[in-house]
Amino acid sequence: MIRVENLVKKFGDLTAVNDVSFEVRQGEIFAFLGPNGAGKTTTIKMLTTLLKPTNGTVMLDGLDPQRHQHEARRRFGIVFQDPSLEWELTAAENMEIHGVLYHVPRKLRHERTEQLLKLFELWERRNDPVKRFSGGMKRRLEIARGFLHTPKILFLDEPTLGLDPQSRNQLWNHVKHVNATEQTTVFLTTHYMDEADRVAHRIAIIDHGKIVAQGTSAELKKQTGTDSLEGAFLALTGSSIRDEAAGSADQMRQFVKMWRK
């Protein structure tokens, strides 16, 4: 479903992604782990038509996302790290806009909206404006929305960042349900090792733009002789802290944190 071969991305002198190759099968839940600055977000952007690779090939469901942008976009959904809901609109209205933008016919839009909002336990609140939703509910709505157009692949960039354990657990149950019933491939990045361990079928660990290990959780633990995914991760990427300069996005995120409850 996703095939990446020798993917390279350079920004001037900086090589953010350095000869990355991996494959994700249909219906798999695939986790992409790595320290800050490893190249996760850059890779996801190249997979989702947002960035042009310097070199290498990306195939999504047999399509090159750069050459067939609109067609590729119809086939996948993406939930970003930062929220992308319209706060003044209701949950139902947010779903509706997504449906129109993704060319879902009206009847199907309404059916899928009802089905997904019920699954993600948001149906009761469908006519409430999103600004009145808790963080967990907003996340659930974004993920429900990502599934609306029945994508072949759903990309989740740090989906549970900042959520409490109950919300996280609940969210993954719903995602796994859709993955099981609709065979949607799920590609996620996360820092929460325990989640990747519980939820992902296979995992790739990226560091300094290169994939340092790939496989199931069991394989990675065996490979590094550790008994937890976190242990394996630290063994493979080292324990030193990765300092990064705060970009303008980080500054704005801090600003948002100041103004949220």
């Binding site: 947002l50 970003f80 060319h103």
Partner: protein, 248 residues
């Protein structure tokens, strides 16, 4: 096109549901209208220019349209990092469709805001020349909105952080307003000031509005129309182009 409509609808709904902001935004035009309109009234009258309230009302209406439309564009910065805009940038929809829906929405909101100010001016005592003036006035309001929605989109597409926002506000938007003849007549100005006001697109918008509403025009309404139309096309083209280049 369904996508343009739904994006337009989103802008309008977003505006209509932020009640506190609507009320707050009316504060400034009201202040200018009442404080300056009545405060500078006697001086203006004595200089043989008639009622200052009548003179300033089109300026204040234009002010509202300017601010609303340019901020709808500049709001892009926030919208594209934390807001709904990101969703539209990864959807299988051409960028041109997105910017069209957004711009039409922004213009609609600016017109609604302008209308609210018109009502305020009427309450304050402003009397337009004739009822027939109203549609023409709206046409000029729409043109002003198009020009500055385009400019706002261009700026918002390029802005990288919030600091730039302050700079734009103080060194671009406020000068555009103050140097447009919204608050003072453009006749017999000192040379440099005269040159600057002639170069300000808003001057033509305010002049057209004033011409329509109280029959007093400095450049001539045909000139106003032509200049605004040309600048609108230029701004919208630049804005759309820069919008299409946004990287998520």
């Amino acid at each position: 096109m369904g996508a343009v409509y739904i994006l337009w609808l989103r802008e309008v709904k977003r505006y209509l549901r932020s009640h506190a902001q609507i009320v707050a935004s009316l504060g400034q035009p009201l202040l200018y209208l009442l404080a300056l309109g009545f405060g500078l009234g006697p001086v203006f009258q004595r200089s043989g220019n008639g009622s200052y309230l009548q003179f300033i009302a089109p300026g204040v209406i234009g002010m509202m349209v300017l601010f609303t439309s340019i901020f709808s564009g500049i709001g892009l910065l926030w919208d594209r990092q934390f807001g709904f805009l990101k969703e539209t940038l990864v959807a299988p929809v051409p960028r041109l469709t997105v910017v069209l829906g957004k711009t039409l929405g922004g213009v609609t909101v600016a017109l609604i805001q302008g209308t609210l100010v018109v009502i305020l001016t009427l309450i304050a005592g402003f009397r337009p020349g004739s009822i027939a003036a109203i549609p023409v006035a709206f046409a000029f309001m729409a043109l002003i909105a198009l020009v500055f929605a385009g400019l706002g989109t261009a700026i918002g597409s390029r802005l990288q952080d919030m600091q730039g926002f302050q700079l734009i506000m103080n060194f671009l938007v406020l000068p555009i307003f103050f140097l447009s003849g919204a608050l003072f007549p453009l006749d017999h100005l000192p040379k440099v000031l005269g040159a600057i006001t002639t170069g300000d697109p808003l001057s033509y918008g305010i002049d057209g509005l004033r011409g329509a509403l109280i029959g007093r025009s400095h450049f001539g309404m045909a000139t106003d129309l032509a200049v605004l139309a040309l600048v609108a096309v230029a701004m919208l083209s630049i804005g759309s182009y820069l919008f299409s280049k946004i990287e998520v």
